[in-house]
Symmetry: C2
């Protein structure tokens, strides 16, 4: 494609949809025509982008005739229905939902990890690329360099996930609930069935027959697909914490070959998309607040696993934070599109 | 001792000190005379207990002449100075600080786990007993029955710790900061050097030369002492979350002998001090809010470790919540005292 691609954003009024616009602007992504799509309810709203005012249009089967790149973030059922329609109309779809992630022929891409997976896809010639789950992306950006160096055998990960993963309404509910609790009122529970303010809870995704919830299983299956290695052992526990928009993860790695904390720090200091905050003397490590509105995944608490001392097994522990809306969703999708523009 | 013991509470104006009074009242602990001790700053304040008004006295070297049981929760340096003084004066000390926990001849006790460790100590005849760290207690109450049944080889634990662990002032700061953030103001950071409202951070305890912080090392060393087994492999990551008074922990267990999730559930359903909330269909599991002001440790997400499938290694995962001020501190100390009254 010689000229700038025509871009559609599906679900533009949501938290990720809004972030798409910010990221496209900040990265100066080349855009021919821009089409902002949403549900009938949001159609007619106006949104400013790069000094121009756009009117949100209703998403229909005819929305994609002149679109080269469609960035979807409107939930799984919308993606399932309209993703193939957009692709057939010639738009290349980068989809933020879980709808296509595990379809074998659809690439599941973290640009720092497996950019080669988009090979053969051309902007404006259809095709669907899936954006991984936010928790998977935030884990794999820092863990992949270690995996490449010494091989990850097993991971035990516990997450500290922000409200944003459940959308803008969940972020608003967390804020509203917090006000209500501080005023001594009963908290409003519309999005989640329990109090979220000053509380944490096991991730609300349905529990599968494995005993793990769907969010946890995504971290397992998506890692297997992205790394192309189904025997990586992963045990995840996903938990929501009352934080607005960045996730944290406590990651314990068992490695195939020896590496120590200094070597890991060295490796990660050169890794794309990774920033290290690991000041032991000052007790300064990544926090979700500092990671918010940033592109990088922040890594700290890099240490040799003390439980492996004297066992002959090599273990490394990490604590990572990344913006769920940004690298966990919108930025990663735009980076995928950038692979196609290059 | 035939009559009810004379009791002193050291640090009565703190969060745990106040909880001592509630727990003693609720459990109808036998009390002869009650002496409320605190720093000079708090001396003269009055506190009501069981319909009687007490005046807080300044803690001095002469405070313990007629005391049989002294419950300490005033920080490590106060315990180090006044614990031995109280013991020499004939008071049996149950100490909530870390001052004596790792002293070999001083028992470190979780009543559900190692009540036999208090053997030989008699109320009113001196002696010091240490109360473990809150995170250790909350982990060991549910994990010990599993350890006894099949042997724990290794644990990987990530904590979600409440403000209360840093005292009443930290709880107040979390509340104040939250108000400030909601009002768009800069948050006041007196207790912690960073924003705690709508944020999480690696536990503020100093980092040791192992790369682990002191809180994490307590979980390792205290477990070794309480179980009397120094080869248990433990990797802990301690994190503060903006929750008021109950901790949560994500616990991954590697076991010496096989057991499955159903057997663990069965085992824990009979375990003292444990309540199970593990409703997979309803996605209902323990939360710190529900665990607050409760005596039990709540356990859920009991599941076979999927990362161990087909490996021949047995693994179990748990998610637990317990009140930090109560079972993590005041209740456990009073339960220790009850062992001595019996």
């Amino acid at each position: 494609m010689s000229s700038a691609p025509n871009v559609a954003i599906v679900g533009v009024t949501g938290a990720v949809g809004q972030e798409f616009l910010r990221v496209l602007d900040q990265r100066n992504f080349p855009i021919g025509n821009l089409k902002l799509l949403a549900s009938k309810r949001s159609a007619g709203k106006t949104i400013d982008f790069k000094g121009k005012t756009y009117t949100v249009e209703e998403l229909t089967e005819d929305s994609f005739g002149d679109v080269d790149l469609a960035l979807f973030s409107a939930g799984g059922s919308i993606s399932k229905k309209f993703g193939p329609i957009a692709s057939e109309a010639g738009a290349t779809v980068v989809d933020n939902s879980s709808a296509f992630r595990m379809v074998p022929e659809i690439p599941l891409v973290v640009p720092e990890v497996n950019p080669e997976a988009v090979k053969g896809i051309e902007l404006g010639k259809g095709g669907i690329i899936a954006n991984p789950n936010c928790s998977t992306i935030i884990m794999l950006v820092p863990v992949t360099p270690i995996h490449r160096a010494v091989g990850v055998k097993r991971m035990v990960v516990s997450t500290y996930q922000a409200a944003s993963g459940a959308g803008a309404a969940a972020m608003a509910e967390l804020e509203q609930q917090t006000r209500e609790v501080l005023e001594g009122k009963e908290p409003t529970c519309d999005i989640f069935p329990r109090q979220y303010a000053f509380n944490i809870f096991s991730h609300n995704a349905p529990i599968t027959e494995t005993g793990y919830n769907e969010e946890e299983m995504k971290m397992v299956k998506e890692t297997h697909k992205i790394w192309g290695k189904n025997d990586i052992q992963i045990a995840a526990t996903c938990v929501r914490v009352p934080v607005m928009r960045a996730h944290a993860e406590s990651i314990n790695l068992e490695l195939e070959n020896p590496i120590d904390e200094k070597e890991v720090k060295e490796l990660l200091s050169k890794a794309p998309g990774v920033s290290i905050i690991d000041d032991r003397a000052g007790n300064n490590f990544p926090t979700p607040l500092e990671a918010s509105n940033k592109d990088d995944i922040f890594v700290g608490r890099i240490r040799n696993d003390i439980s492996r001392k004297g066992t002959g097994v090599c273990g490394i522990e990490l604590f990572v934070c990344g913006d769920q809306v940004r690298k966990g969703a919108a930025l990663n999708a735009v980076q995928i599109a950038e692979l196609l523009v290059k």
